[in-house]
Structures are given as structure tokens and as C-alpha cells.
């Protein structure tokens, strides 16, 4: 299967890539290509121009910036999964990256590319939500920051403008503990999430002082589980099950090939409980 014909631009800089996007509304940006190329081969998408940012130097670094971790536009899933820094401060993201796709996909696909793609069943958006990530978007007018909570607008739709590129994801070092758990479409942790939940909690005197929970796979977009977050705050470990029962508040459950609405609703609660239990244990 060939994609339809397109013009290809190997951008030498983000500025150049943004310039091409701004002057060509039919252009799409490509980093690893793990989502874009299959969509183009299936002709779900036929951009007139592909702007490849994959050759731009200096964008593939994971850096400790003191109060946050900076993850560049070209950092691949495999690098996120094997980063000790991310493992220490953002366990949920490390787990989500390590269970994204398969080894070949993790060798080429990038975290920022996956976040910008905003697939409703991708793993890393749930972790970005739970960890309170900040997205740095660069467009013709410079850069702007977008909170993860405002970033995932709908299925395959992020808050990026067509002429913006996600150049960095910032993961705050908020302490506490985090975890991601999922049921994959091929069972275990394999493939896209039928249901996936990332939880971050900070614990003080045995109770949760603050928490956030991101759910993926179940609904129409990666979403914060606001009900469970509210229910968990101020509670100890014995409050987890009750909090998990409120996982679907604010989530529009989408029945699909992988499960009925009832089944996916059930899974959302189970995995919210499991993620909370693991995050709570990690925070303690």
C-alpha cells in the first residue's frame, strides 16, 4: 500500500518546519511517523506536504531542569522507557512508554509525536495528564505552554493549531508516587489500551494530599478522572476502591470492537483502583 503522492520537506529547524506548515494548510508534520505513515498508507489521511522534523539535531534529549524534566520533540518511546530520570520522577510515564506499541514502534515513535497525535487509546497521554505535564508548542508567533488537562481536545485532536509543533513535554517533579496500568487489546500490557489509567498521588500522614488520574482507551479522548480525584483527596489507602468507583465522571465511554460500554466501564474502575494502589504504595 502506497500513500498518495505528497511533497516531502526534511526541515533543518523547527522554525523552517513551522514556516512550511504556516504557508501550506495541507501540510502535516512527521517525527517518527509511526502514526502518520500507517494513516497515509490506509489513506485515512493524504497530506499535500509532509514536513519531516526527524533530522533536526538537539531535539532528542531528556534533561533535568531542576523542578521539571524536559523531554524534547524527538525523544523516542524507547528512550523514555529506559530513562532512569523519568523512572525516578515519573514512573507512570516510563511504564506507559514501555507498553506503547512494540519494540520496533518504540525505536522510532516519539513521545511528543504520540501526544500530538492524541489517539484516544494511546498510553502516554494518560500519564501526561496524571503527572500534570506542560506541552510547549511552537508556532509562527513563538512558543506557548499548554497544560496537559487542556491539550487533549477530542479523538485525534489536540489543542495545537495546524501551524504549531509540539517541541517539548515538561514533566514537573512533584514528588509523591505514580503508576500506570492497562489492559491491552492483545491482553496484558500489549497493544493500545482497552482501558489504561495513570495515577499520581502525594501522601502526607497516610492520606492523599493531592492526586490526579488520567484515563485512556475507555472514552472519546484521554481524560482526567475528576470524580476519583476528588474522592481520593484526603483519604488513605482504604478509600481507593470508593474513589475508583467514580472513575467515569466526566468520561464519555465509547463502545468499540474491544468491549461493550458496560465492560469498558468496569475496566475503567478496576484499572483506576490498581493504578491508585500502585501510586499510593510508591508514594509511601
Amino acid at each position: 500500500m502506497y500513500p498518495r503522492s505528497f511533497d516531502y520537506v526534511a526541515a533543518g529547524s523547527i522554525e523552517e518546519a513551522v514556516g512550511v506548515l504556516a504557508s501550506n494548510p495541507g501540510a502535516k508534520v512527521m517525527s517518527g511517523g509511526m502514526s502518520l505513515i500507517p494513516m497515509m498508507k490506509l489513506r485515512l489521511l493524504s497530506p499535500e506536504t509532509v514536513v519531516d522534523i526527524g533530522r533536526i539535531g538537539g531535539l532528542d534529549t531528556i534533561e533535568d531542569k531542576g523542578d521539571y524534566i524536559s523531554i524534547g520533540a524527538l525523544v523516542r518511546h524507547g528512550a523514555v522507557a529506559s530513562s532512569a530520570l523519568i523512572g525516578e520522577h515519573a514512573k507512570a510515564l516510563q511504564q506507559a512508554a514501555s507498553w506503547t506499541g512494540d519494540p520496533q514502534v518504540r525505536n522510532r515513535g516519539t513521545l511528543c509525536g504520540a501526544l500530538a497525535h492524541a489517539d484516544l487509546a494511546a498510553d502516554t497521554p494518560a500519564a501526561a495528564l496524571a503527572l500534570g505535564a506542560t506541552m510547549v508548542a511552537q508556532g509562527p508567533g513563538g512558543t506557548r505552554e499548554i497544560a496537559a488537562a487542556d491539550f487533549f481536545v477530542d479523538s485525534l485532536m489536540s489543542a495545537l493549531s495546524p501551524d504549531e509543533i509540539l517541541v517539548e513535554a515538561r514533566i514537573p517533579k512533584r514528588g509523591g508516587g505514580s503508576a500506570y496500568d492497562k489492559l491491552g487489546r492483545r491482553g496484558g500490557h500489549s497493544d493500545y489500551a482497552v482501558a489504561g489509567v495513570a495515577a499520581w498521588v502525594s501522601v502526607s500522614d497516610g492520606v492523599v494530599a493531592d492526586c490526579s488520574i488520567g484515563i485512556t482507551g475507555v472514552g472519546t479522548k484521554p481524560t482526567l478522572a475528576v470524580g476519583s480525584m476528588e474522592a481520593m483527596t484526603g483519604q488513605g489507602a482504604n478509600g481507593i476502591t470508593a474513589a475508583a468507583d467514580r472513575a467515569l465522571e466526566g468520561v464519555t465511554v465509547l463502545e468499540d470492537l474491544y468491549g461493550s460500554e458496560a465492560y469498558k466501564s468496569h475496566l475503567a474502575k478496576v484499572y483506576t483502583r490498581r493504578a491508585l494502589e500502585q501510586a499510593f504504595a510508591a508514594a509511601g
Binding site: S5, Y8, K41, P103, Q104, V105
Partner: protein, 167 residues
């Protein structure tokens, strides 16, 4: 567009459309047909090659993205008549039946061992998660990779299942 890359130690040049997939460039322009095309949707892994040492699905990469890359395909694994240890493992442990997935399995297995010389059975099974086989049930593929990992560590590979049975 002009592209040039190193494939199996040989510098190659081509003139391709931007939409030319790397696997088509390798098979049709270079006539290296050991790399197979299976599902074409990034699931099956039959097209797996090494791009700068990393296992990569060549059906999900444009030839133009490989500009300047160092690529190894299944044809680059054996040294003359000496099979690569992973190829030898598939031979010794009956790691294939129809053989369609085999080139991709071998490339994934070799990349896995390069990253982790002492993989457990579980790590091997997860390491070939991106490669589908519809014949073997994976059992002998896992055994083949275990064989190769042992050989590459300079150890004697574990006996085959059938040797254990007859012993």
C-alpha cells in the same frame, strides 16, 4: 528525490518518490527480497530490518527518511556460509514452518540479544511482540532465540525439547 544509504555494508543510491516505502526500495530497487511484506499496517513485523542498529519496520518508514542511514537486512546477517547465530538457532530449533515471518523474526531476535544478551523466556516473548507468526505458535521461535543468545555468550545452548524427551 535522491537518496543514499548503506545497506549490508554497501553504499547504495536511488531516485525515489517521497511516498516510496523503505521496504519497496529495498525489495524492488535493490532486489533484496529477503525482507518480506506481510500486513502493511505495522502489525506483523515481517519487514523488520535494522536502521542504525535499531529494529525497524521498513513498511512504516519512507525511503527518504533513511537518507544516510546504516541498514542491515536479513541478507547481511550471514558471513559467507557461516550463519548468524540467530539464523543457526532457527535452523537448529525448528524456528520456522512456512518461513514468511522468519526474516523479521531473526532481525528482531538479533536486536533483542544485542540489547539484552541474557534474555529470559518472558523477555524474548515480549521482545518479539512486534512480529507475528501464524504457523509455529512461537514456541520454537523462542527456543531458537534462546539458542542464539547462549551461543553468542559463548555457552552451550540448552538441549532441544526433542533431545530432552529422548534422553
Amino acid at each position: 528525490m535522491k537518496v543514499s544509504m548503506t545497506i549490508n555494508g554497501r553504499l547504495v543510491n536511488g531516485d525515489v518518490e517521497p511516498r516510496t516505502l523503505l521496504v519497496h526500495f529495498i525489495r524492488e530497487e535493490l532486489a533484496l527480497t529477503g525482507t518480506h511484506i506481510g500486513c502493511e499496517t505495522s502489525y506483523c513485523g515481517a519487514c523488520t530490518i535494522h536502521v542504525d542498529g535499531a529494529a525497524t519496520k521498513s513498511c512504516t518508514m519512507l525511503a527518504v527518511q533513511a537518507e544516510g542511514a546504516n541498514i542491515t537486512t536479513i541478507e547481511g546477517m550471514a558471513k559467507g556460509d557461516d550463519l548468524h547465530p540467530v539464523q543457526e538457532g532457527f535452523w537448529e530449533r525448528h524456528g520456522l514452518q512456512c518461513g514468511y515471518c522468519t526474516p523479521g523474526m531473526i532481525m528482531s531476535g538479533a536486536a533483542l540479544i544485542a540489547e539484552n544478551p541474557t534474555p529470559t523466556e518472558d523477555e524474548i516473548r515480549h521482545g518479539i511482540e512486534g512480529n507475528l507468526c501464524r504457523c509455529t505458535g512461537y514456541h520454537n521461535i523462542v527456543k531458537s532465540i534462546e539458542y542464539a543468545a547462549a551461543k553468542m555468550r559463548g555457552e552451550t545452548p540448552p538441549p532441544a525439547d526433542w533431545e530432552e524427551v529422548s534422553a
